[in-house]
Amino acid sequence: MSENEIRMPDTSRLIVSSSPHFHTTDSVSKIMLWVIAALLPVTAVSVWHYGLPALEVIFFCTAGCVAVEVLCARLMRRPIEINDGSALVTGLLLGLNLPPGTPIWICLVGALLAIGLGKMVFGGIGCNPFNPAIVGRVGLLIAFPQTMNTWMTGPDAYTTATPLKMLSDAHLAGQEGATNAMSEMLSQVSYGDWLLLNQHGGSIGEISALALILGGILLIALNIIRWQIPFFYILTVAVFTGLAWLSDSSLYAPPQYHLLSGGLLLGAFFMATDMVTSPVSRTGAIVFAIGCGIITCVIRLWGSYPEGVSFAILIMNALTPLIDRMTAGKPFGAPKKKGLKL
């Protein structure tokens, strides 16, 4: 070593680990941050439109989710993993799924349901079978039907009927009444305005279809979500409601009405695409999305609830492991017929 003063490496502090030794710089927290970034446009529009009530709901849902996650991790003596950002995403999505002006304490109960019951009891990130934000929302919907069905249409205006609720009420009015109510309602709709700013009442995140689509496209472009899920979900809903409309346009609303109303876009781009609770393979994602679409339409057209996106996603979440198994591909070079047995 003395000649030329060559410095030899010190081998006492080496690390050994399994190959590969190169890794991407991607991480779970980066993915979650991008999801949040994609949700920012719709958040901004809603806060601009509704003002403080929307901001309050979003803030307390998000803060509540993070707090509940910390609390649960403490109680369960697990490492606290809030810096991966998944609780933030859940909180933001939960907030966007609630009506503006929801009381703060209900927001906090929602956070408890979402993170506590929807995520942590199953073992935290990656182990939950159901989308936590939807668990929170559906829990609140069942627990406080009154509060959850009072909507703001503007900073000070309130209504108890979203477009889908009106549709469902019109259905309940019977054949004769439906036709009248429908045509009256549809005549008022201007889809162009609706696309930009929904002034008919609804959840915070249903405010602007355009903002949702922008965010969704960002996520697809970054390969964070699989394009198959929103694409086939929306396509299924369009085809299904389109067929219904074609069969009896006096009884069923046109497909564009269904696409733009309710939480379909929010659900298709941000909720159904939750990685943990959707199938891992691309074929599986298509099956999942079509399933979501069909259930959504069935509930909307013939169910007692006006909106079915949350329930559809929850039901398909439950089927995800099964879809995974069924759509598990054959390995490279495997004989054609021999598939994975169920």
């Binding site: 490496p9 690390i15 030794h21 990656g126 990685m275 390995p331 070079g333």
Partner: protein, 470 residues
């Protein structure tokens, strides 16, 4: 001839980091002491022919193949067998080894007779020569070449594929070899083709080595060799993926390339074949890339086997900062080692040093089921789901989800945003599944033996009933 290139499924694009691709190959100087492991190949360790205190010459056979899957080992220089002992292998286990003390003369032994007119000699002679020269697959697996080149007669081989892809980041040894000894490589290819009796020879090179593609195209103009420039994607150089890219044939699960009429050889192996046949030189040296940011002057050297890693690093000028990882092979499939006493063997394609800034440690968070591993797995497995099964030690389940098809290329771990050590899971599962199968087989054999013994005993006890009753 038009080139048709197919795209295999999955794969990743790790940073290339081939910083030593412009450094010409240098022959490493003679050392005083070589540590030669007796197992540089897949299969049984070679059977030692010399004893402590014996004088040997360069190229003399130190150990002979001991089984069907085995390869002989030759002395890298002349000198004295100092000791018969063990040495640390890259996998952290002790291997049988001999220590050779050089006499500084580097006297060559009587070489194997060169076969300059190989075009006319019998394939069997050429094959025997390749076996005697101890040539193994030098891409990394170190499977004895002679077995690969002698497929059973029922397997019709129609395509010889030469692997010049070198898809591992950082490594440049094959690239330099193609640039510096194209003629030998071409001769080696033709020898292989003659042995196998095939007409179609395909040489696959990734497009990031355009100089090598151009050179090889020039040199092979009036031969039957077809040079194919391939897209840069890891693991382009994996045997099954390369065959698919060039021929669209899929190696069946659990099968070998020869099942679909292909034989794949690495360019370094082909070069070694040419040297063994034309010059009569057995395989006792190889070209190894010594690279990594902590090194003073990375490069490509021709090392004799048995050179400790410490010597290689010394030749590269030592380090400017202490490495955090030392890897035998490339960054995607190489093995992290913790000692510099490990010797270079026939399959050490590179020695890579990584600094603290480059090393990201596994944290093994929960799988968030993002499915990126699915999208990148070239074998089309579901590594994320498998790893969860393996974490719960459900090996039978993992087996039914085809864990045994994993080739440990590392794409899944590379891409995993949760930093899960997926390859390690697979490796463990493969080891345990194999062990379970072996145990079951052994138990069955033992049971059968016991039953046979009992049957024999019974037959003995009642000799009257035994004969003639069948």
């Amino acid at each position: 001839m038009p080139e048709i290139i197919y795209q295999f499924y999955g794969g990743v694009h790790p940073p290339q980091a081939k910083i030593s691709s412009q450094d010409a190959i240098v022959s490493a100087p003679l050392l005083e002491r070589y540590v030669i492991p007796l197992q540089m190949h897949i299969g049984a360790p070679a059977r030692l022919l010399v004893q402590k205190g014996n004088k040997v010459l360069r190229g003399q056979m130190l150990a002979d193949a001991s089984a069907f899957v085995s390869a002989p080992i030759h002395a890298p220089t002349s000198g004295l067998i100092k000791e018969v002992t063990t040495c640390l292998g890259v996998l952290g286990t002790q291997l049988p080894a001999v220590i050779l003390e050089s006499d500084g003369e580097d006297t060559p032994a009587e070489p194997l007779a060169p076969i300059p007119n190989w075009q006319d000699s019998a394939p069997a002679d050429l094959l025997r020569r390749i076996g005697d020269a101890g040539i193994v697959g030098m891409g990394g697996a170190a499977f004895p070449t002679v077995i690969k080149l002698s497929p059973p007669p029922e397997k019709k081989i129609d395509t010889l594929i030469i692997n010049g892809v070198e898809c591992e980041p950082c490594l440049t040894a094959d690239h330099r070899l193609m640039l510096e000894s194209p003629d030998k490589i071409i001769a080696g290819m033709q020898i292989c083709a003659r042995i196998l009796g095939v007409k179609r020879i395909l040489l696959g090179i990734e497009k990031n080595k355009s100089d090598a593609v151009d050179l090889m195209r020039n040199k092979t103009q009036d031969t039957s060799i077809q040079v194919c420039a391939l897209d840069v994607r890891y693991p382009q150089g994996a045997e099954k993926q390369l065959i698919y890219t060039l021929t669209k044939r899929k190696v069946p699960t659990g099968g070998l390339p020869m099942d679909i009429g292909c034989v794949v050889q690495n360019v370094a192996s082909v070069y070694a074949i040419a040297e063994a046949v034309i010059d009569g030189t057995p395989l006792y040296q190889r070209i190894t890339t010594v690279t990594g940011t902590p090194l003073q002057s990375p490069g490509n050297w021709r090392f004799r086997v048995g050179t400790p890693y410490a010597e290689a690093i010394r030749l590269a000028g030592g380090v400017t900062e202490d490495p955090v990882k030392i890897i035998s092979g490339g960054p995607m499939m190489g093995v992290a080692v913790y000692s510099l006493d490990i010797p270079i063997t026939k399959n050490t394609s590179g020695i890579l040093l990584m600094s603290g800034a480059e090393v990201s440690q596994y944290q093994s968070k929960s799988c968030i089921r993002c499915g990126r591993c699915n999208d990148t797995c070239p074998m089309q497995l579901m590594p994320g789901i498998l790893s969860v099964q393996i974490e719960n030690e459900s090996f039978d389940l993992a087996e039914s989800w085809h864990v045994m098809d994993c080739m440990e290329c590392g794409c899944c771990s590379y891409i995993c945003p949760a930093g899960r050590p997926l390859v390690q899971h697979m490796r463990r599962a493969k080891a345990d599944v194999t062990a379970l199968h072996q145990a079951a087989k052994a138990a069955k054999a033992a049971k059968e033996a016991r039953e046979a013994k009992e049957a024999a005993k019974e037959a003995k006890n009642s000799p009257a009933s035994a004969p003639g009753k069948k």
